[in-house]
């Protein structure tokens, strides 16, 4: 199967799953941004994403996207380190024009994954997981009322400045990951040439910044002393 056997095939998988995850981030970021204006509207959107059949299918596809992206990243990195050889250079300098993020995508990915564990525990396990558990007949799985009140959990965690700072660190790592990831994904599917290469780099920087600004506005809002 050429998607596994060939280097460009493997890269295509990284690219497609990456673009899929970026689309998810755009949705998730927009949804979060709403909470700053109206907690009710936010809860309404979150309500669509409870334990419904379509939300569950979406969650499964999303999880699959994450898993494939991460597994392929590990596999590609393993192969690349093998290709580098056992001996490394005694002196190795960085080149002009090579982004720092592009050399550290795996490290950034691991940081993002670690924080994602925290994030899933703090929000997903208190919201969708509780609803699923109740649906499956497990009555003592948690408070169903609170599970439907996403804004409560946002307030609950971000009123603690430590969590706000942690989330800002997480989102900064994600910003670096995206600034390289978005244009790299487009380059891998061949969507660039001499004219478009600089353009897609700018577009990916703008897109990464917009996504992260939408996310980061919430912990910053709380750090500034406001509440929703």
């Amino acid at each position: 199967m050429w998607l596994i056997d060939s280097s460009i095939g493997r890269k295509l998988i990284m690219s497609i799953t990456g673009i899929f995850l970026v689309l998810f981030l755009i949705f998730h970021g927009t949804m979060n941004f709403v909470v700053l204006f109206s907690a009710e509207a936010y809860n309404a959107i979150a309500g669509f994403l409870g334990a419904n059949w379509y939300a569950l299918i979406g969650t499964k596809i999303l999880a699959l996207g994450f898993v494939v992206h991460i597994l392929y990243a590990l596999y590609l990195t393993f192969q690349n380190q093998k290709a580098r050889g056992s001996k490394s250079y005694a002196v190795k300098n960085n080149q002009k024009g090579v982004e720092w993020a592009s050399q550290n995508m795996l490290v950034l990915g691991i940081i993002i994954l670690g924080f994602m564990g925290l994030h899933l525990f703090q929000f997903w396990s208190k919201m969708q997981l509780v609803e699923i558990s109740h649906k499956l007949g497990c009555e003592n799985a948690g408070n169903l009322e609170l599970a439907k009140d996403g804004a409560y959990w946002v307030r609950h965690y971000f009123e603690n400045p430590y969590y706000s700072v942690l989330y800002i660190i997480w989102l900064t790592a994600l910003w670096f990951h995206l600034t390289h990831g978005v244009w790299s994904a487009l380059q891998t599917i061949g969507a660039s040439n001499n004219i478009w290469l600089p353009r897609i780099k700018v577009i990916s920087n703008i897109l990464a910044t917009i996504i992260i600004l939408m996310f980061i506005s919430i912990p910053v809002y709380f750090l500034l002393g406001f509440s929703i």
Binding site: W2, S6, L76, R84, G85, S86, K96, S102, N194
Partner: protein, 251 residues
């Protein structure tokens, strides 16, 4: 008036492919700043021979930047610090008096060290043999205007064809990927009518060979482009991806 500098050289010495190598330090005085980097190594080798020591093995041939034979990882950069030049085009005026210069061979799984600073770059030849040619009979020399080729395509093909196959891209890549080389070789032919005929098969064959030889997966860091002595652009890599993916999807 000729200026001279005194330098210290830290050079990788390795007796053979299986031998364990090490850095050996040499002092070299009164090096003319007008001499090229390879001439400086020649002077060092003369000195070693006169001392009845074994000279340092390093690759070189035309010494005018077009054969792609010279390699050397100098102070952390393939072909030295200067952009867009090969090692033979590097001059001693770029170094300071008293400077320590570290010289290493290309390091990549696919480029095993043969001796000292010389590596086996046969892997690139094997990739070319897998499809980097035109096998259709294009007949005799046609009139120059018989097959119109746009200026843009001609320029792009020429830029790709400037790749000399030195291996700096794979040597500097943190993934040991040869994508810039393969992309240049696929592009130079795919852009022109004679090469276009076999473009799909060529892209598949050359990428398959590249993967088989143990080169890594490109992650678009752009280090190859920054170090390429011929400034081959990574936009050729995008073209290779396009060629390869469209060929695979057609199958």
């Amino acid at each position: 008036m000729e200026k001279t500098i005194n330098i210290t050289l830290k050079i990788w010495r390795q007796a053979g492919p299986k031998a364990k190598g090490e850095f050996v330090t040499y002092k070299l005085d009164n090096v003319s700043t007008d001499s090229s980097f390879l001439e400086m190594l020649d002077v060092l080798n003369e000195k070693l021979i006169s001392e009845r020591k074994e000279p340092i093995v390093f690759d070189h041939d035309c010494r005018e930047g077009i054969c792609g034979m010279c390699s050397l990882f100098i102070n952390g950069h393939p072909h030295g610090l200067d952009a867009g030049t090969t090692t033979c085009q590097l001059h001693m005026r770029r170094f300071k008096d008293g400077e320590t210069i570290t010289i290493e061979p290309w390091r990549s799984k696919a480029f095993p060290v043969l001796k000292d600073l010389r590596v086996d770059r046969n892997a690139f030849d094997k990739i070319i043999q897998a499809g980097g040619y035109v096998s259709v009979n294009t007949g005799g020399v046609p009139d120059g205007n018989a097959i119109p080729i746009s200026k843009i395509a001609a320029d792009e093909a020429m830029d790709a064809a400037s790749c000399i196959g030195c291996g700096a891209c794979a040597a500097t890549c943190k993934n040991g990927s040869a994508m810039l080389f393969v992309a240049a070789k696929v592009s130079q032919l795919a852009l022109l009518p004679q090469g276009r005929v076999e473009a799909a098969a060529r892209a598949k064959a050359m990428v398959a060979k590249m993967d088989e030889l143990g080169f890594g997966n490109c992650t678009n860091t752009g280090a190859c482009e920054a170090e390429c002595p011929k400034n081959v652009s990574i936009s050729h890599i995008a073209r290779l991806n396009r060629e390869f993916l469209s060929a695979k999807f057609k199958d």
